[in-house]
Symmetry: C2
C-alpha cells in the first residue's frame, strides 16, 4: 500500500488547517491507483504532527509513503525542520519506504499555475 502524506506548517486558525485536510481529500479523490490513501500532517501547532501522521499511514497498512512538503519556498522549515523529522521516521520505520519530494513551490510548473489562477 502506498500513502501520500502532505506536510503543512499548521496554523492557529482551524479553517486554515481544515483547508489542508480538504485538499488531501480532494487529491485522494483524483489519485486513482497511484495512492491508496492521501492524508496530511503538520509541522507545528496543529495535529497530527509529522511522526503521528507517518505512524497513522503505517498503521493503515502503508508499506511506502510519499511525502510532499506543502510549502512554497525553502525556508528553514523545508530545509531543516522537515528533513529532521523525516530522517527520524526513516530510522524508526526501516521496513517502510519513505520518500520525501521537493516542496511544491519547486514545481517547475508553478509560474504557469500562478498565472492561470490570475487569469481564471
Amino acid at each position: 500500500m502506498h500513502a501520500l502524506l502532505l506536510i503543512a506548517h499548521g496554523s492557529r486558525r482551524t479553517a486554515s488547517n481544515q483547508e489542508v485536510q480538504d485538499l488531501a481529500r480532494k487529491i485522494e479523490a483524483i489519485a486513482g491507483s497511484q495512492f491508496d490513501s492521501v492524508s496530511s500532517a503538520f509541522l507545528e501547532i496543529a495535529e497530527p504532527d509529522i511522526p503521528t501522521g507517518i505512524r497513522r499511514c503505517i498503521e493503515a497498512g502503508a508499506t511506502a509513503i510519499t511525502i510532499v512538503p506543502y510549502f512554497l519556498s525553502a525556508g528553514r522549515h523545508v530545509a531543516e525542520d522537515i528533513p529532521r523529522e523525516i530522517n527520524k521516521a526513516v530510522s524508526e520505520h526501516a521496513d517502510v519506504k519513505i520518500n520525501c519530494l521537493p516542496h511544491i513551490g519547486a514545481n517547475p510548473s508553478m509560474p504557469d499555475f500562478l498565472i492561470s489562477g490570475v487569469s481564471g
Copy 2:
C-alpha cells in the same frame, strides 16, 4: 500600466526569498500582454515590504496593481495581516486600482497541480 505583485511571507534564508523573486521573473516572462511588470514583496523579515513593493509599482508607472498572496492556506497572515497592509495602501494611493486576489492555495486547480508534481 498593470503590475502583478506577489506577496510572500519572507524568510531569514536568502535562498528562499530569491525563489520568490525568481518566480516573479518567470511569471513576467510568460505574462504576455496581461501584465507590464511582475514583482514581489514580503510581509515580514525580507525586503521590500508590502508598502515599498506597492510604491515601486506605482513609481514604475502602474495605474492598476493585481496582488496575489503567495500563501497556501488562509492563516492569520492571509486573513488579517495582508488585508490590513493592502487597505492602508488603497487609502494612500486612491488614484491606483489595487485588487487583491485569493491566496494561491485557494486555486481550485491545486489538487491537480499537486498530483501532477508527484507524478512528474
